[in-house]
């Protein structure tokens, strides 16, 4: 679905930002891209959605080479939700903001309205359809931005720090959407600092360090390697650490930790 083959990138006159990047992502996978600030995460994100072109190597999305495909065409194959929703919201109603993408795809009338209603339901803002997106709270604005991209039904979904500033309710919506998308065969890519979120939702972790791939492993294998998490400069999720302290088999999530603990102490 998404294929990155021996990509290098440098800004004009600058040091290389990314070197020798190669990976592919399959349908239904949830890949988290992690690493320190300045490790090259945001540049990689821009290479994936075509806003930047690799100096060498190729990026292929849904069979399209990003080098030969205009960004606005590629947008129908890879949907990006940026960190700042305020940078893309420009309609006076949540409804119209969601409608923007599908309209570009030529959807009109009842089909368009059905698509909008479906998305509004998924982001939990059906009641807010007629409100101004910027009159909503920060978390709802983030969900509007997510919804405006979901409405285009892209086969690849690119989410940049989607969890930021969300409370339990909004977070549950986000996690449900990520899970549903993966289930439906969408390839979901998270660029994320929140390792608890990564541990709960990602199936695989791609860690960047100094512009190179430091690790590309299933989530559990990544977090249980001290060497790799240190190299990538990320925190180890508490359940992973706690399971190790308690001598339990490796786990990623609180629920898995509880289950393993209960299994371990059944006899007691």
């Amino acid at each position: 679905m998404l294929d990155v083959a021996s990509v290098d990138f440098a800004y004009p006159g600058g040091n290389p930002v990314l070197s020798d990047i190669a990976f592919s992502v399959r349908r239904g996978e949830v890949l988290a891209i992690v690493g320190r600030n300045g490790a090259g995460k945001s540049t990689l994100l821009r290479l994936l959605n075509g806003l930047r072109q690799p100096a060498s190597g190729t990026v292929t999305v849904d069979g399209l080479n990003t080098a030969d495909t205009p960004v606005h065409v590629l947008a129908h194959h890879i949907g990006t939700v940026f960190q700042a929703p305020e940078q893309q919201i420009f309609n006076a109603k949540v409804h119209d903001e969601i409608a923007f993408g599908p309209r570009q795809q030529g959807l009109t009338g009842a089909a368009l309205e059905a698509r909008i209603a479906e998305v509004l339901g998924r982001i939990g803002l059906a009641d807010a359809a007629q409100l101004h997106p910027l009159d909503l709270d920060a978390a709802a604005r983030r969900l509007v931005a997510l919804g405006s991209v979901l409405a285009m039904k892209p086969p690849v979904l690119l989410l940049d720090e989607p969890q930021r500033g969300l409370d339990a309710n909004a977070m549950a919506r986000l996690e449900a959407i990520v899970a549903e998308e993966a289930e439906a065969g969408t390839c979901v890519i998270l660029v994320c600092h929140d390792m608890d979120f990564v541990a709960r939702r990602a199936s695989r972790v791609l860690a960047l360090a100094q512009g190179r791939i430091a690790a590309d492993l299933p989530t559990l294998d990544f977090f249980t390697s001290d060497e790799l998490t240190r190299k990538a400069g990320v925190e180890v999720p508490d359940p992973v650490e706690l399971a190790r302290f308690l001598g339990l088999p490796p786990v990623l999530t609180p629920s898995a930790l509880a289950a393993k603990w209960l299994a371990d102490h059944r006899s007691a």
Binding site: V71, A75, E86, Q87, Q88, I89, G101, Q104
Partner: protein
């Protein structure tokens, strides 16, 4: 700190070039009045005088270490004006002394003379302004204003736009990228590109207004305009010589503008 140096303190958006020349070290008011004197001279001098003024100004700019920037700006700005003026006054505006050139084309020596007069006059004024803006950091101008008790609101209105141009320009690019990445086509028909404008402008303006809310709280909580006067730190140095120089230049400027008027 009145003569700023080092690439870090400079603003890429400004015409100002850091340096340590005489004009860089001069009090901003002195530089300002020097500029005004030069502009007033350019307003009244004949073509030969304004030409000398340009040459002298450019020479001065090289002596102050800002020559290449001043010359480049001068040429870029003046070339289209020069061409337009020569065409309009040399060939188009009908004058009694039209001389046939080739075919239906005629030209006027007095028209060309007039064009030369206007070009050198604007050129001299532009040279004066360019010398001023390339050697004087706006921050220092504002400190001079503060020092003289000008309302802090006035300095805010000059300083803030200067500082915000770069961040806003970056933001405009980020907005463009975000909209393209959700399918906005900026390359198709005239109508489609025109309709794309709101998608680019509205986020920029709403972001500016949401900054506004926050910035107003910050300014109020930093006691902005709470007192009539504010303390000026690192005030640009001044001395008796500069005070007198300014007085002389002001008298000269008034005399230059006034005497030709009385003459008539």
């Amino acid at each position: 700190m009145s003569s700023r140096s080092g690439p870090q303190s400079g603003q890429t958006a400004l015409l100002f070039l850091p340096g340590d020349s005489l004009l860089h070290r001069a009090n901003p008011l002195t530089s300002l009045i020097f500029m005004l004197w030069m502009i007033s001279a350019a307003a009244v001098l004949p073509t030969i005088g304004t030409t000398i003024l340009i040459v002298a100004g450019v020479a001065l700019s090289f002596a102050m270490g800002v020559g290449p920037r001043v010359t480049k700006r001068l040429v870029i700005t003046m070339l289209p004006l020069l061409v337009a003026l020569l065409v309009v006054h040399g060939f188009l505006v009908s004058r009694p002394d039209f001389i046939p050139l080739v075919g239906p084309l005629t030209y006027s020596p007095t028209g060309l003379e007039y064009a030369a007069q206007v070009v050198t006059r604007i050129g001299a004024m532009l040279t004066a302004s360019l010398i001023f803006v390339t050697t004087t950091h706006p921050g220092d101008i504002l400190k001079s204003l503060d020092q003289r008790g000008v309302s802090p609101g006035v300095s805010y209105l000059i300083a803030s736009p200067l500082l915000l141009i770069e961040p806003f320009s970056e933001r405009a690019k980020a907005i463009r990228d975000a909209q393209r990445a959700r399918g906005l086509d900026l390359t198709s028909t005239f109508k489609a590109r025109f309709k794309a404008l709101p998608a680019l402008l509205i986020p920029l303006i709403t972001l500016a207004l949401s900054d506004l809310d926050h910035r107003a709280s910050i300014l109020n909580s930093r006691a902005f305009r709470a007192q009539k006067h504010r303390t000026v730190i690192d005030a640009p140095p001044d001395d008796r010589f500069q005070v007198w120089l300014r007085r002389v230049l002001i008298v000269l400027a008034i005399a230059q503008l006034g005497i030709p008027l009385l003459w008539r």
